[in-house]
């Protein structure tokens, strides 16, 4: 049950996109988002969509799992769509009931806005689906490195993020186990009022917290046993290196941004 949560879950694979440097993918996603917000016409949306579909195809991620990941966002999508649909006054009126009117401009805006959100999410999903959390934090640390000059504890932050990400599946598994154990003693999580259900969670939360603290303690001891002392002078087992494919990816991204901006410039 709990295992079904896809928290931007990593989808193991060996496609070109999987093998890209995590920094390339992080920068690409930023560029992609910028391009997405520059795109304002059907034509530029088409370009963006083609780019996204091409990337998904190359990554060999089953489109089904991307669609499945969207499910929790349906409410936001509908909300955005409906708001845009009714809050646009310009354009020709298509339908009118009571004080609300749907104009052709409104319809276009609604479609474009929800489309933008959909593409935004799919793009970022592609990043987390093709990059392992460890690689992602590695890339982030490397990209944020200049901030060290401003005394931002970049290494410590990325270490914390890394540990947090690493322990999400562990804690989910643990929660599952504790829930099963309490269910075996007759605990009921599925029926009763909201207060009953909240109360039913106590037998799960108490052991979970205890185990989280125990794990943190053990981890700290284990790190100290290995003389861990932070980022100063620390070398990496896996060095990040840009390759030919990274160069090509940057080129493609630059091209995408250029095309979208050019289209916007010509008012398309």
């Amino acid at each position: 049950m709990l295992k079904d949560i896809t928290l931007g879950q990593y989808f193991p694979g060996n496609s070109v996109i999987h093998r890209l440097d995590p920094r390339t993918k992080l920068i690409s996603v930023v560029v992609y988002i910028v391009a997405l917000f520059c795109a304002e016409s059907w034509v530029s949306y088409g370009v963006m969509l083609a780019f996204l579909l091409a990337a998904i195809t190359i990554s060999k991620i089953p489109p089904k799992s991307i669609v499945r990941g969207m499910k929790p966002l349906i409410v936001i999508l509908i909300f955005t769509g409906v708001l845009n649909l009714f809050y646009t006054d310009t354009g020709r009126v298509l339908v009118r009931f009571w004080k609300l009117a749907i104009t052709d401009d409104g319809l276009t805006r609604a479609i474009l806005m929800t489309g933008r959100i959909l593409m935004l999410i799919s793009g970022t999903f592609l990043l987390t689906y093709t990059t392992s959390p460890i690689a992602l934090t590695d890339g982030l640390e490397s990209l944020l490195n200049p901030l060290k000059k401003l005394h931002v504890p970049v290494h410590e932050l990325s270490m914390m993020m890394c540990i947090a990400l690493r322990f999400i599946p562990t804690l989910i598994e643990e929660t599952d186990k504790i829930m099963s154990a309490q269910k075996a003693r007759g605990a009921d999580f599925e029926s009763g009022s909201i207060i009953d259900r909240a109360k039913a969670l106590i037998p799960v939360l108490v052991p979970l917290f205890i185990s989280a603290f125990r794990r943190a303690d053990e981890l700290a001891t284990a790190m100290e046993c290995r003389c861990y002392q932070g980022g100063e002078g620390r070398t990496k087992m896996k060095l990040l290196r840009y390759g030919r494919n990274d160069f090509l990816a940057f080129l493609a991204e630059a091209l995408l941004l250029a095309v979208v901006i050019a289209l916007a410039f010509f008012g398309l």
């Binding site: 154990a181 309490q182 269910k183 075996a184 003693r185 007759g186 009921d188 037998p203 052991p207 205890i210």
Partner: protein
């Protein structure tokens, strides 16, 4: 034979339709009788833990049935809930699920969920504490102040207090010292005697299962590979080894003795070994 729990063609597949799809149980069939002490052995990942969670209705079979006294536990919601109480399940490292302020309250969690009266709950808590050797004064302390072995006993008492007719335990002695192990095994045995309960115990200690159980189930690669008395199972030592399992050390010694030409029977407990050796000595003395 008085069957209480029957498993028919039980199959369970995890994460159907994802790349992580995994067949954990494949057409498993067996019957547990009242008062029996049955052991399950099997390599890690052979499906033991999944099987246990099927038996009290925590996991729903992909196909196949689990029958409790002839009734499918999934045929009715009430029956599923009843199965949780009638088939008690003690998970691995059960001490990690303790949560109440006092030992008493924690043991009472199960019986309280059953909706029993206050008096009945009190009786059961004290009786269960008695089975696992928790004293009156320990009932009032916080479970987190107890030692590891005592916590384990409290957790087991929490399940025993529901007075299940079938008690399933997943490696109840894992990580305990020899004294603690022996104590817990005796607690389980005394519960079985007192209530004529069926015990199903997963264990990696071949010595323990050889000594305690009437019957052994061997799981291998999601399938039930063997079902028989310990002597029947341990006679097939070579097959067990190919499954990544082992036979009791004393059985290994006797197998080697036979290979060396000494006429000894197959034994699998220390008592049996002593007896066989005595007989051998007497035989030689007469000759």
């Amino acid at each position: 034979m008085n069957p209480i729990l029957q498993v028919e063609d039980l199959t369970y597949v995890y994460s159907i339709g994802t790349p992580f799809e995994h067949r954990a149980l494949d057409k498993v069939n067996f019957t547990l009788n009242r008062g029996e002490f049955v052991g399950i052995i099997g390599h890690t990942g052979s499906g033991k833990s999944t099987l246990m969670q099927q038996l009290n209705g925590l996991l729903k079979p992909t196909s196949g049935r689990v029958l409790l006294e002839g009734q499918d536990i999934w045929s009715d919601k009430k029956l599923t809930r009843q199965a949780r109480f009638r088939v008690g399940l003690v998970f691995q490292y059960p001490e990690y699920q303790l949560f109440e302020e006092t030992v008493y309250k924690d043991i009472a969690f199960g019986p309280t969920n059953m909706g029993l009266s206050g008096e009945e709950i009190d009786r059961r808590v004290r009786e269960a504490a008695g089975f696992v050797g928790i004293t009156e004064s320990q009932l009032k302390v916080s479970p987190f102040d107890l030692s590891g072995g005592q916590k384990r006993r409290v957790a087991i008492a929490g399940v025993i207090a529901m007075e299940p007719e079938v008690l399933i335990l997943d490696e109840p002695t894992a990580g305990l010292d020899p004294v603690g192990r022996e104590g817990i095994l005796q607690n389980i045995e005394s519960y079985r005697r007192a209530k004529n309960a069926t015990i199903l115990m997963v264990s990696h200690s071949m010595e323990d299962v050889a000594r305690l159980t009437d019957r052994l189930l061997v799981m291998n690669g999601s399938k039930l590979a063997m079902d028989g008395t310990p002597s029947q199972v341990f006679d097939r030592a070579e097959e067990l080894v190919t499954m990544g399992l082992n036979i009791p050390q004393v059985t290994q010694v006797f197998l080697r003795l036979r290979q060396l030409g000494v006429e000894v029977p197959n034994v699998y407990t220390l008592e049996g070994a002593v007896e066989a050796l005595c007989r051998l000595k007497e035989g030689k003395g007469h000759a």
